[in-house]
């Protein structure tokens, strides 16, 4: 060997896998998406001296938390905001996936709140996704505001996101993170509840010590900080013919207005012990949720991230850039929840990770106006040499979890 392989995106050159789950040190932690540019250095999942990742440590700690005390904290918080005069007292963002089903339902029916569900819809709804979205509202029984952005701009930004960052999901993530605070501002609702905390997936533990979502994720200081699809705002305007009118929907809320309105974003997962698989059963039982009848491409599971035809691309491109696909994600989470052993997780990763999202490929390419070959070319460009090698005309990961 001996040659030094370039590691793109500031990823660690040496690939190391967690000794407990199947994640590697290549996994990026959540990015502040509107500052996301191609030349950024990714913050990655941290490991401790025993080779255990942050997410696993967090899961460990989950078992020692006094959940009764946390629930009391939640009730105190809710008591100060609960409204019975017809006004909304909290916002639950989501699109009818199992987690938002659980969050909205438990807040309304167990804790007596009056949530407004807020949806930044998928780029292209899958049949099962649309079915579950409707069931959420019609069976679960919730008011909903869906904000659908300009489709042409959305498609363009998605394409740019792929071309510059190989990140098909960026436009969705932007909307998902930024919409709820803006709706909260507009309706005067002071509380926003997301589901799990991102530490579940490996964001630094310090951020989960309190339940408030770090403001930097959803508030910006001024426009010069903003990139969309990996392109700065001025360039979007000059080169791509977009206007501020087209783009403002993607910008996060002005932090000064958020502070003035005292909008708070909380993770429900801080207050209530979160077991994603049990959210599935809960959603089935209470909001008419249905799992995908087929196995989702790239993984073994049937109830995670079902609603967008472009979902599969998000995980596939993650696999290209970081060597970690959907099966890795699903398995890591189930290992941490003790549903699977590490051995089982490894077997699942080997079997399913990196599977190409064939089912909706043509459709998605057509929607965003990209030639299929171009997508494959881009994938090749984005493969980091320290992760991939070419063997017999095929790409192969240098390091696989074992």
């Amino acid at each position: 060997m001996g040659e030094r392989l370039e590691a793109k995106y500031g990823l660690r050159e040496e690939v190391v896998f967690c000794t407990r789950c199947v994640m590697s040190n290549q996994r990026p932690t959540s990015t502040v998406e509107f500052k996301h540019r191609a030349d950024r250095k990714a913050r990655v999942l941290a490991f401790d001296e025993e080779g255990v990742c942050d997410a696993c440590r967090f899961a460990e700690r989950k078992e020692q938390i006094d959940w009764d005390a946390r629930e009391r904290e939640l009730v105190r918080l809710l008591d100060t905001h609960r409204r019975t005069d017809g006004g909304y007292d909290c916002v639950v963002p989501g699109s009818g996936g199992k987690d938002s089903c659980y969050a909205a339902h438990v807040l309304k029916y167990k804790y007596g709140m009056h949530p407004l569900t807020v949806t930044w819809p998928p780029l292209l709804y899958t049949d099962i996704g649309l079915k579950n979205f409707r069931a959420w509202l019609e069976v679960g029984g919730f008011d909903n505001v869906t904000f659908k952005p300009n489709g042409r701009v959305h498609a363009l930004l998605t394409r740019l996101g792929i071309e510059h960052l190989l990140h098909p999901f960026q436009t969705f993530i932007l909307g998902q993170k930024n919409l709820a605070p803006k709706i909260a501002l507009q309706y005067g609702i002071p509380l926003i509840f997301y589901g799990e905390s991102e530490a579940e997936y490996g964001n630094p533990i310090a951020e989960t010590a309190t339940s408030l979502r770090d403001r930097s994720y959803y508030a910006m200081q001024d426009l010069s900080e903003v990139s969309l699809g990996g392109v700065t705002v001025p360039e979007l305007i000059e080169r791509h013919g977009l206007t501020l009118n087209d783009l403002s929907v993607y910008f996060p809320a002005d932090h000064r207005r958020l502070e003035a309105a005292k909008i708070e974003v909380h993770y429900l997962g801080y207050y209530l012990k979160w077991t994603p698989q049990e959210s599935y059963y809960y959603a089935v039982e209470h909001t008419g949720f249905e799992a995908n009848p087929v196995r989702t491409e790239g993984t073994y599971s049937k109830y995670n991230s079902l609603d967008d035809r472009i979902d599969g691309f998000h995980y596939y491109t993650s696999h290209v850039k970081f060597g970690l696909g959907r099966a890795s994600s699903d398995a890591a989470q189930e290992i941490r929840n003790r549903h699977l052993t590490r051995e089982e997780g490894v077997a699942l990763v080997h079997k399913f990770d990196g599977e190409f999202p064939e089912r909706y490929f043509r459709e998605v390419m057509e929607y965003i106006g990209m030639k299929p070959e171009r997508f494959h070319e881009l994938c090749d460009e984005f493969r980091s040499p320290h992760l991939w090698e070419r063997v017999g005309g095929e790409w192969r990961l240098r390091h696989r979890v074992s």
Binding site: E278, Y281, V294
Partner: protein, 289 residues
């Protein structure tokens, strides 16, 4: 000819699990304990399915099969990840009476014929898990409802019967675990298409469902899981040995029931069948217990 009421146990490792749409591995307790209760309470047969055998390429039911067959004297069918003649022999030697073949059989239909020649028709049950398409056709799936095959479920059922299978177990993935009832159309289509007994699996939520699938859909036997398991979980503390492995959150929460099913005992189910004029083997004292 009486209709058989079969208790179906989905097993992962040491645990009895129950999913919805064959997804999710919520632990409900110890399979041996549940099996024993079902035997004592009038089950006509037991069906053990290893739900992850295909996924991990391993077979791990041998021990529990051996223990069960030593203490429980009703027929036991075992399925999940049986891929070779040797796999079948191992499980039969451990004490199983019948084997259920799904993935391996669709992948290589001759395997059915080989198994039948070796072990006899009556030992071989072909298990078909199907999903309904909008046009009304049913497609067979493998690997515990994960992989499409492109194979028409009805055509496959006929072929399996021709290859010598002794029985067909047909499960609707759309209905399984949901408590919405069996897919009557699917069951009827299969039951009337083959000359061998057909077991309806997947979807019971109430007594009426069990009766309907026999009376309307002509099933010769019924495999029931959620309705029985959630009933046991509700009334029997000892079944819920809460270990560490698997999704034990539901048990830890105190087993609050599962709203999608009207849980019931075997006695309840058989009573309803008899009231509808369906003969079945009695439970309790009459059965010699």
């Amino acid at each position: 000819m009486s209709v058989r009421v079969i208790a179906r146990l989905d097993i992962k490792g040491p645990n009895l699990v129950k999913g919805v749409h064959l997804e999710g591995l919520r632990v409900l307790g110890s399979p041996e304990r549940f099996a024993r209760l079902y035997y004592e309470e009038g089950a006509d047969e037991l069906l053990y399915i290893d739900v992850v055998a295909s996924l991990y390429g391993r077979n791990s039911l041998t021990d529990i099969v051996a223990r069960t067959s030593r203490e429980i004297f009703i027929p036991l069918t075992v399925g999940g990840g049986l891929r070779t003649i040797a796999d079948i022999r191992t499980v039969l030697r451990a004490g199983a009476d019948k084997v259920a073949l799904n993935t391996a059989a669709i992948t290589r239909p001759d395997f059915v014929r080989e198994a039948v020649e070796r072990f006899g028709s009556s030992t071989v049950v072909v298990s078909i898990e199907a999903i309904r398409h909008p046009d009304g056709r049913y497609e067979a799936y493998t690997e515990n409802g994960r992989e499409r095959t492109g194979v028409d479920a009805l055509a496959w059922a006929r072929r399996a019967a021709e290859l010598g299978a002794g029985e067909i177990l047909v499960t609707s993935i759309d209905r399984e675990g949901t408590g919405k009832g069996f897919d009557l159309e699917l069951t009827r289509a299969v039951a009337t298409a083959v000359p061998i007994p057909v077991i309806a699996g997947g979807g019971a939520g109430t007594f009426a469902h069990v009766r309907d699938v026999v009376v309307d859909a002509r099933a010769d036997a019924v495999a029931i899981a959620s309705v029985l398991h959630y009933n046991v979980v509700r009334r029997d503390d000892h079944t819920a040995r809460v270990g560490d492995e698997g999704n034990v959150e539901y048990l830890k929460r105190g087993r609050p029931g599962f709203g999608k099913v009207q849980d019931a005992t075997l006695a309840d189910i058989k009573a309803v069948l008899r009231e509808s004029g369906v003969p079945c083997r009695p439970v309790g004292a009459e059965a010699g217990a």
